[in-house]
Amino acid sequence: MKGMTVIVKKVTELMCGVIFLYGIYIIIHGHLTPGGGFAGGVIIAGSFILLILSFGSDFLALKKEETGSSLIESSAILTFLIIAVLGMIIGGTGVFFKNFLPGGTIGKLISAGVIPLYNIAIGMEVAAAILTIFLALLIYKDEVLK
């Protein structure tokens, strides 16, 4: 896939970092404000997709990128599962999904126990999964249709 004009490239260059940071903000404030892992993950994936669309995929080794993103996706789910199972071990009561960290003060960034950790894992998972789907479509277009 070819890139777009200089204007688009320059604007994307300026914007995508901000979009990425906004996605991270949404994820880590998931337990305080609207949004959370899923919404933030989609925004992060959006910043990557914007870059690929404006600069084109000719400079990318698509297969390698796809392997990387699917690896991140799997490890994010695994992290989620490990936190859930840790609740069974650390809580001492053998309860699945136990919130074993201290709750903290309501409204502070570091509060709500393990919920921010779940949000981060979900954010990674969603971002990587959407990017993987996008890359798979690109690979299909570039390689299979030719």
Partner: protein
Amino acid sequence: MDLYIPLFVAVPLGGAFLSAIIGHFLKRFGRIFTSVILAFLTGLSLFLIFTVREPLVLKVGGWELLGKIPIAIYMVIDGLSIYMLLIINLIGFLSAFYSISYMKKFTAENNYYTLFCIMTAGMNGVVISGDIFNIYVFMEMAAISSYALVAFGIEKEELEASFKYQVLGGMSSLFILLGIGLLYWSTSTLNIADVSRIIFSNGKSELIIFAQVILLAGFGLKAAMIPFHAWLPDAHSSAPSPISSMLSGVLIKAIGAYVILRLFFNMFAITYDVSLVITIIGTLSMVTGVLLAIGQWDIKRLLAYHSISQMGYVILGVGIGMLVLAKNGDRSVATLSIAGGLFHLFNHAVFKGLLFLNAGAVEYETGIRDMKKLGGLSEKMPVTASTSLSASMSISGIPPFNGFFSKLIIIIAAIQAGYYVLSILAVFVSIITLASFLKVQRFTFFNKKSSGLESSGISVREVPFTMCFSMIFLAVLCIVLSLMIIPSVREIILTPAVDVLVNAGKYSATVLGY
């Protein structure tokens, strides 16, 4: 003991993503790891069968009752759940072990094992969930991974079958979600035990009856009962064979029949109308399925149509039990009938799983599924031929095998309940089943003269060890399961499952604890 419940979901999910990660570096990892974890889960469910007497309840997240409102997601293991868990993980283990040799010719083996584990996790989740929305979520997990697995060969037929399956599966999910929404609207809770308590205390409204109809249609589509069966023959015949055996042997039971039983016995109060509908659907599936099956020449398609017919037996057995319970009839007749249905459910998982594995072995060696082109394989593939013979006799109800006893129990129960027409139909269907499996045996494994294989130059020998092992194991089970009619064995395995359904009203009280 509660500690073991989440393992049935967490272990296969962990296995799925571990084999997705490690599989990038170690090619053989997923292949072996899947079999190992499924063997572990089979062992665990066997252990639970022998130890659990009272239902185990786990509140996810540790949230206790708030007043009388259950706010946690409940995971429940009772007799019926353990029974289903044993079937799912046993057939899953044997299919995974069979896949070790069978899937070598496919690319992207790791994705296969990842999807396989996710599908198992989804089915286990459906069975242990005590919350209707979680049943929906786990059901979608199992269904979506099975869409991908049906299309795994990426040929024209497989993609078409998978597309058809996805469209009809999507329809059924829509129905189910709508039904759950209506239930939530009228009872304002999603916990099965709590819904049941509220329905019993408030009485029935039109909304609940509408939700029942919608849910029956949705799960009937998943279980491929006859007006909703169109996707099954395509999907089950074009999947890779171990997956066909998982789909036919386990999936339609775990996310279709099991949920119908759980919801219509334990959640809604049993009424005469619904039991009549379920019995009629079961009878229709039983008769029509076998009539559609006997004319087929594609071996896997024939088996797929027989799945519809045999599931009809299961639903018929349970439906007669429901009818008797709804009319306040003799409870021992209801118990006998439901026991027959559940027994046939296990038996069907075993012999239909085995028959699909046999078909897979034939296809693995010859590459042909059309019975007209096969023939005379019994000398070259003795293990496949003999195991297939035992499965065929089992499905058509020849005495020492398990299928005979479960069909006999269903027929006796139908006579005792006074449904003579249904019992005659059950015998009649069994005879046609025998005829169509004689056809399979004759055209595939015997009948040497008309064999076109020799001239086409395909060299045939016995399949590799792992495939043989799974087939022999299941063939032995075909005989061993007939021991379930001995009272002491039956009391351990079958009776707890039947009790959950017969004493349907007790579920709510035991799970909620008040």
